[in-house]
Amino acid sequence: MELSASQLWMSGADEEIEATAKLIERAITGDRTAFEEIVLQHERRVFTLAYRLLGTEEDAQDAAQEVFLRAFKYMRRFDTTRPLEPWLVRMTVNVCKRAGRGRTRTRSLFVYNDGAQQPDSGRDPYALMRAEEQKRVLYDVLTGLPEKERAAIVLRDLEGFSTAEVADILGSAEATVRSQISVARLKIRKAIDRMKGGRDVVS
């Protein structure tokens, strides 16, 4: 059984929540190192989500910066008995919704930095090229989706939230979110079919 993102957070979350609450308390009293620790813990998730929703590294940087500044500003209002990450995710989605309107930057791909993701020198170079191309197509499709469909599919399939959680984050009805997810998956499948042109998909 696959655990949703929030279920994963909740497993062994009490200690984490307590530790985060202490960090937040320190950050509120002006301890910058405590706030830096909070940023360090969540920057990857916030930035990645922003990138997936906006499609460019520059926009994602701006959005992530705004998310953390908002978090700092409204930290006093945060209920420290709850996990911090869903709050940041919701904030990221809202910031990206606003930032997504009227932007003109061109899309750029992530730079892969994990050792596991480094190109394997022993691997077939054509397979690597195909994998790169497929990734490019997937990001093209993703950024080409209407804003609501993109947010729903990113939160469900890439961020790992359940449909109910996605509906809660987006402030939509669950049935609406299910419909958006379903349509987005069919569009992605069509785009990959077009790209394949008879070739195998690199998964």
Partner: protein
């Protein structure tokens, strides 16, 4: 339900997003429909490909750049907050400051007006005739009014040496006791007063 209508349900089915009834309904259809079965296989494949981008991560340099910008802005916000707390805090703080300022100004004005309006010390009524004694008949000159204790705060340029100090008049007076004998031998009245030099 047609295959076209099933498409959307199949897209949810492949990721386990359907509840009991719908799940079994789609599963039964897939067993009977090869086209929808192919669609389900395609969707599983495309979903696996799509989910592969989950592994993508940002360059640490990018994250560092974001973190640096955030911490710089936070430092700016903190110093600004300090100033705001002092001068431009929330509504409650502003009201407190305004009240305090009003109190100060009001107190100053009140103090100033009291000093200006303070009446001069009322001189004692002149004694014209107290009694007509049979033994003594003495007219007592009324004592001059005492100097007011507090003077209005008037900024004077400098005291002129030619002006005589008013205290000289006060020093000239010497105490005098006047005894009045009445018709009643049990009642004697004493009058305590000052006598001026030269009077």
């Amino acid at each position: 339900m047609s295959c076209h209508e099933f498409e959307r349900l199949v897209a949810l089915y492949v990721e386990g997003d359907l509840d009991g009834t719908e799940h079994w309904h789609v599963e039964a259809h897939l067993l009977a429909c090869p086209a929808c079965r192919n669609l389900a296989d395609d969707l599983k494949e495309s979903q696996a490909a799509f989910k592969s981008i989950r592994q993508d991560g940002p360059n640490p340099a990018v994250l560092l750049s974001v973190r640096t910008r955030v911490l710089e802005d936070v430092a700016g916000m903190q110093s600004k907050n300090w100033l705001e707390r002092l001068f431009l805090g929330g509504l409650r703080q502003r009201a407190t400051l305004a009240g305090f300022a009003l109190l100060l100004v009001g107190g100053w004005l009140l103090r100033n007006s009291r000093q200006h309006d303070m009446p001069a010390a009322v001189p004692p009524p002149p004694v014209v005739a107290v009694h007509e004694p049979q033994v003594f008949t003495e007219t007592v000159a009324p004592t001059p009014p005492p100097e007011p204790e507090t003077k209005p705060l008037v900024r004077r340029p400098r005291p002129m040496p030619a002006v005589a100090a008013p205290e000289e008049h006060v020093e000239a007076a010497t105490p005098v006791t006047i005894k009045f004998v009445t018709d009643n031998p049990n009642v004697i009245i004493y009058w305590l007063g000052d006598e001026r030099k030269g009077d």
